[in-house]
């Protein structure tokens, strides 16, 4: 029987993988995927908390699950905007490599 700790460890691993992807990969699309992964790690921990912290009447705390839906919705919107920006960026620069996108610096 998996406990809360197992879920949180998986969630933390997911988050670390996402963060690692964001920090280490050079392709902007992969970075974007890393971001999504981190969001889902957060979702997972929220659902786990909801499931394991039952209220006094034995029901799960749905507040956390409602929050997960919000995150999914916002993430969907974010993907739409983010991909649009990446497409526009690719049209302008002909690249998706972040090391080529360093104009804004001192």
């Amino acid at each position: 029987m998996p406990t809360l700790a197992h879920y949180l460890i998986v969630s933390g691993l997911l988050f670390a993988i996402g963060l690692g992807g964001v920090l280490l990969r050079r392709n902007i699309l992969i970075i974007f995927m890393g971001l999504e992964l981190m969001l889902n790690a957060a979702n997972l921990s929220l659902v786990a908390f909801s499931r394991f912290n039952l209220l006094n009447d034995g029901m799960p705390n749905y507040n956390a699950q409602v929050l997960v839906f919000f995150i999914i919705t916002v993430a969907a919107a974010e993907v739409a905007v983010g991909l649009a920006i990446i497409v526009a960026l690719f049209r302008a620069k002909q690249t998706t490599h972040v090391e080529d996108l360093n104009t804004l610096k001192f």
Binding site: L23, L24, I31, L101, L104, F106
Partner: protein
């Protein structure tokens, strides 16, 4: 028309005319001149009418500013014998000078501006004369300062005129500062600034004689500034940079007379404080003598008269200090207004004839070219020098008598000054009108138009006759010292002084082509101007240099530059974090979050 409204009309007519001249003056020169003269004439006629009315002592007054129950500033009029006489002097002299200005200013620039300035000047002076409280007096006192600044600096494009205007204003400010403190002290002691109430409440203050003395001396500082007493006399000779009618008005009826008039107004207060009276007498006496000395070695015809004014004002201030009634000083103010105004008008007439040359050693022989001016100057000169039976003789001798009785040393000092007066004015007269013409202009000088001569002739008559009892009895109630007390030597001595001074001047200057004697000490005005110059340049200039240093290095550098440069430097250092690498930013962000979490949770 009632005695209630007439003073207000007298007071505000010049202000209205000044405003109208500024609005309409650019359309017509004649219009501006006639507006100014009309206003002065209205004032003059009403003043004479008022003088013959028995006035109700209770006059209308309006509360202008109410500062709680302690202090109500009122604009009110006090109409007593003193102000009635002063009204006559001020308005009558002004009418004559305004008419004279028609001729004098005929070819000058700023004609309308000049008449607007004259009207404003008259308004300010009338405000002082009519004020029934110290605050109103102070407001008009400052207005006189402003209008004198405007008029002295009339030829503002000339540096010396602009500087003279500034100097007059600034030097007066020093005296006014004392006056303000004095007024506040009196108000602090008595709770009122209204003259009549002040005078009533003075006996209550007799228990604090030192307080009262300090208050009186501070108020006297106002007179020192405005009436050009030592040591604040330096502005008056420089004010000669203004057009001559201004000098005439300034020296005869407005401005310098204001200081003496104010002392007369608070005479009962002053005489409750013997120490203050004594100080006033000494300042007046010393000014009188020193200014007469300075006048003996000047060569500018207007400056000689300016020093003479300072000297005569010294007599008046001395008169306030020693005589038991203010009428003694006011009598001299009255006669002096006539003859000094006359002398200035005559000097102005000479200047116009000489194309604005003021150095008397460029003149000479003008008696044939400008005979009327010469006669007028002669009449004024006799009165100033105190020739027996002229107006100056009566008024000056009275003051000298009182001075000899009260403070003998001062009495003899100013008696000697009377001799110097005769000397310097005869010197000027002889050099200007006698001898040979010393320059091109002097040979071609012409007599002036009738608008200038008539005021001079009127004043000549006044200067010669105003002192006789049949005239002055209408205006003044003079008090003579006891015959027993006056030394028998005094009157013969005064005759000797007059004839001696005049004779010596005739001997030295009748045919002189250049000044036969030269005393640098007097020619340089006892070096008082140099002392001020030194003081301003070194002491005050040093202070200013220090403040400028502090401003530059403390305020500008330490307070302004250092923080701004520091901020810039921080910004510059942080700029290097802008790598342009998005993953570096994400790393910094993540590291920051971890850092904050670490601090929040584990510390």
């Amino acid at each position: 028309m009632s005695t209630q409204t007439a003073p207000w009309i007298i007071l505000f007519a010049p202000l209205v005319s000044a405003a109208l001249i500024l609005l309409l003056g650019k359309f017509s020169k004649t219009l501006s001149a006639s507006l100014a003269i009309l206003a002065a004439l209205t004032g003059c006629v009403l003043s004479w009418w008022l003088f013959n009315q028995s006035v109700d002592a209770k006059m209308l007054s309006h509360t202008w500013l109410s500062l709680g129950p302690e202090l109500n500033l009122t604009i009110g009029i006090s109409l007593d014998h003193l102000s009635q006489v002063m009204l006559l002097v001020v308005t009558s002299i002004s009418v004559l000078v305004f008419i004279y200005s028609l001729g004098y200013m005929r070819d000058e620039e700023g004609y309308s501006r000049f008449f607007a300035g004259l009207s404003l000047f008259l308004f300010s002076m009338l405000g002082i004369v009519l004020a029934n409280n110290f605050m109103m007096l102070f407001i008009f006192w400052e207005l006189v300062g402003v209008s004198s600044y405007i008029l002295i600096g009339h030829y503002y494009s000339k540096d010396s005129a602009a500087d003279a205007g500034k100097q007059a204003f600034i030097v007066n400010r020093i005296g006014d500062f004392g006056l303000m403190l004095g007024i506040l002290l009196l108000w602090f002691g008595t709770g009122t600034v209204i003259f009549a109430e002040l005078i009533e409440s003075i006996p209550g203050l007799a228990t604090a004689p030192i307080f009262l003395t300090i208050a009186c001396i501070l108020i006297f500082m106002g007179t020192i500034g405005k009436s050009a007493q030592m040591p604040l006399h330096v502005w008056l000779p420089n004010s000669m940079e203004g057009p001559t009618p201004v000098s005439s008005l300034l020296h005869a009826a407005t401005m310098v007379a204001a200081g003496v008039y104010m002392l007369a107004r608070i005479f009962p207060i002053l005489h409750a404080v013997p120490t203050a009276c004594e100080i006033i007498a000494w300042v007046g006496g010393i000014t009188c003598f020193a200014a007469a000395l300075m006048a003996t070695q000047q060569s500018d015809i207007k400056r000689i008269l300016a020093y003479s004014t300072i000297s005569q004002l010294g007599y008046m201030v001395l008169g306030i200090g020693v005589a038991p009634t203010s009428d003694v000083a006011m009598f001299h103010l009255f006669t002096h207004a006539c003859f000094k105004c006359l002398l200035f008008l005559a000097a102005g007439s000479v200047m116009i004839a000489m194309h604005h040359e003021v150095d008397m050693w460029q003149m000479g022989g003008l008696r044939k070219k400008t005979p009327v001016t010469m006669l007028c100057f002669f009449a004024g000169m006799l009165a100033l020098a105190g020739c027996p039976s002229t107006s100056g003789y009566f008024s000056k001798d009275l003051i000298i008598e009182w001075a000899v009785v009260k403070i003998p040393f001062l009495g003899w000092l100013v008696a000697a000054a009377a001799g110097l007066t005769a000397f310097y004015i005869f010197r000027e007269f002889l050099v200007v009108f006698f001898g040979k013409a010393r320059s091109e202009h002097a040979e071609h000088a012409k007599e002036q138009p009738v608008t200038m001569l008539i005021p001079m002739l009127v004043l000549s008559v006044l200067a010669l006759l105003a002192g006789f009892p049949f005239i002055q009895d209408h205006f003044f109630k003079l008090a003579r010292p006891d015959h027993e007390l006056v030394p028998h030597l005094l009157h013969p001595l005064l005759y000797v002084m007059f004839f001696g001074g005049a004779g010596l001047a005739t001997m030295l200057y009748f045919k002189a082509q250049k000044d036969p004697i030269s005393i640098p000490l007097f020619a340089n005005r006892l070096y008082i101007d140099n002392v001020y110059f030194w003081f301003v340049r070194n002491i005050q200039g040093g202070g200013a240099a220090f403040l400028s240093w502090a401003d530059r290095w403390v305020v500008d550098l330490l307070v302004v530059q250092v923080p701004s440069k520091l901020t810039w430097a921080c910004g510059f250092a942080l700029r290097f974090l802008q790598l342009g690498n998005i993953q570096a930013y994400a790393f910094f962000f993540g590291a920051g979050v971890v850092g904050i979490l670490y601090i929040l949770i584990f510390k």
